[in-house]
Symmetry: C2
Subunit: 327 residues, 2 copies
């Protein structure tokens, strides 16, 4: 099933077949011939062989999206789905790659794929960037040279969410706020960003900067952190959790101590995982529309592929608080 087969079947040349199959412009081919080719291709189940096409044209229609390996929100599928849809409309094919601590994985993948572009939600390690460059990858998002502060999506994944959490708590009348961070090193830059967003909101409201405490992901450990907070001179009355998991840990720790939210301590999470609504009390959290975000990012990527220089800072699309009972 090659284009030669279609040519033989129709009694035309491979060139003509190629013309109609790609409807090449400036090529006046009679409807009859065109029809004949299309029909034969369909009948034979012809599919162009991607490697040959890529070799010839010098450009691949593949785009790689690196997925984070941190605890996945169940909406990751939506993100990929919508991003893939937008890219498909533009003639690209999205493939995903789940991030690994094993170094060089992305680099090897790019060598094997020679994709047109690679994007992800965090900066790539220099080693991988180098490999991508060698693999002729055209566009990399976030751009390797970008500073860590203002790069792709910082506003959405990090500072924007932290800010929104703190603003909600402040609106509820809280003035002493803490930040609960995971002790997982993989997300240290993200958690720092969120805490920074919360700090900004506090500063804007004339409040002191929130204390930052790492919270172990077990009940005893979380209870320990809560006790420490309450024993401190300026005991916080509310806490921004890095995500719903640490929020759930906090709630469980409080329960063990006989405390409850929001009375003893208000808790707000982030991600709106399915378990959030089933917590005791149901967890107030920040949700973001992953699908929207995926589409948004994909469009930004397409613009970059078209050579448009652009501002990569994203407006926090569809980010909103889901108010339940814990804050």
């Amino acid at each position: 099933m090659t284009s030669t087969d279609v040519a033989r079947e129709t009694g035309l040349s491979r060139a003509t077949v190629s013309f109609v199959l790609n409807d090449t412009p400036n090529q006046s081919i009679p409807q009859a011939t065109r029809q004949r080719v299309l029909e034969a291709a369909a009948r034979l189940g012809y599919t162009p062989y991607a490697p040959a096409r890529t070799l010839r044209s010098g450009r691949s229609d593949l785009i790689v999206c690196e997925l984070p390996d941190w605890p996945q929100s169940p909406t990751m599928a939506e993100f990929v789905d919508r991003a893939g849809e937008v890219l498909a409309e533009a003639g690209y094919t999205l493939v995903t790659h789940v991030h690994t601590d094993r170094p060089g994985g992305l680099g090897r993948l790019c060598a094997a794929l020679a994709p047109a572009a690679v994007f992800g939600m965090r900066p790539f390690p220099p080693q991988d960037v180098e490999a991508m460059r060698r693999a002729r990858v055209g566009v990399i998002l976030p751009p390797p040279q970008a500073g860590s502060g203002d790069d792709l999506g910082a506003s959405v994944w990090t500072t924007g969410i932290g800010r929104m959490q703190a603003e909600h708590l402040i609106a509820k009348g809280h003035t002493r706020i803490a930040c609960a961070l995971p002790d997982d090193p993989r997300v240290s830059d993200l958690s720092a960003g969120r805490a920074a967003g919360a700090a900004q909101a506090c500063a804007d409201a004339g409040l002191p900067a929130p204390a930052r405490s790492p919270v172990p992901l077990d009940i005893d450990g979380a209870a320990g952190v809560v006790s420490a907070w309450r024993a401190s001179p300026d005991a916080p009355t509310a806490v921004c959790a890095y995500n719903d998991e640490v929020a759930l840990a906090l709630l469980a720790g409080m329960r063990r101590l006989g405390l409850s939210a929001p009375g003893d301590l208000a808790v707000i999470g982030a991600d709106d995982i399915p378990a959030a609504r089933f917590a005791a009390p149901p967890l107030t959290t920040i949700a973001l529309d992953s699908g929207d975000l995926g589409a948004h990012l994909a469009r930004a990527l397409l613009r970059t592929l078209d050579g448009e220089e652009q501002d990569l800072t994203l407006a926090p699309h569809g980010v909103h608080v889901v108010e339940r009972e814990s804050a």
Copy 2:
């Protein structure tokens, strides 16, 4: 940075370069020359261009793994990581594709990649299988013709887990068991499999088959289901939940009704999501070692690629109950 560049740099021919770079057997090339080529390739940062290599050799080193879109366990990354590692050792490169309800996605991906193999955890739709065949995909796992009962991993993802849940409850002395299924149609075949596993365990123990109830993923809905169970003539004393999310929903529903586990009703989940340990009471659940499973599956795939006909039924690798307090 093509092999021509390396040839020019070393003053050799492209053929010679190719020979040493792929260390082609039956080709006696002096160490000196060999060294010269390797050194030049490294210095120039030469990376073979995959599409050309694939076109020429007729075989790609890509393997596609389709990831489910149902609520992801946080261990999906481990699965992919270990599977990728095993495949990489054999010279293959793993790329992932997140499943979408949008039809034909996998098919289009395969057309764009021409991978050596495709594997996933559920049978592929016939439409995609057809596209894969056209895209020259050599091996498909699970094989399209396999029956739904005994296909790839059924024992691990479905019946095996359900069986283990029921066996745990039976060991605790329960004799009237229910199955709580999600009402999400995307997982209906999986949930049926798990319920079947639970039913087997009950049958083996001489107990009546468990009732199956769909559980809505909200507190009121879950509470309604619990009430209905308790009002029924043979009220169950324990329930196998399809996964931790529905287990959490059940626990929340019980809490609303003033009931608690395991006293009023024992609940066992599946997946051991991070939130499970923070539930009230902490959730007893079934965990499986995703990394092991990934490696196991990858090895099975490699054997199939080597043409070995084989039994695809997997032993439940690393599946075990995590006993907390809810059952």
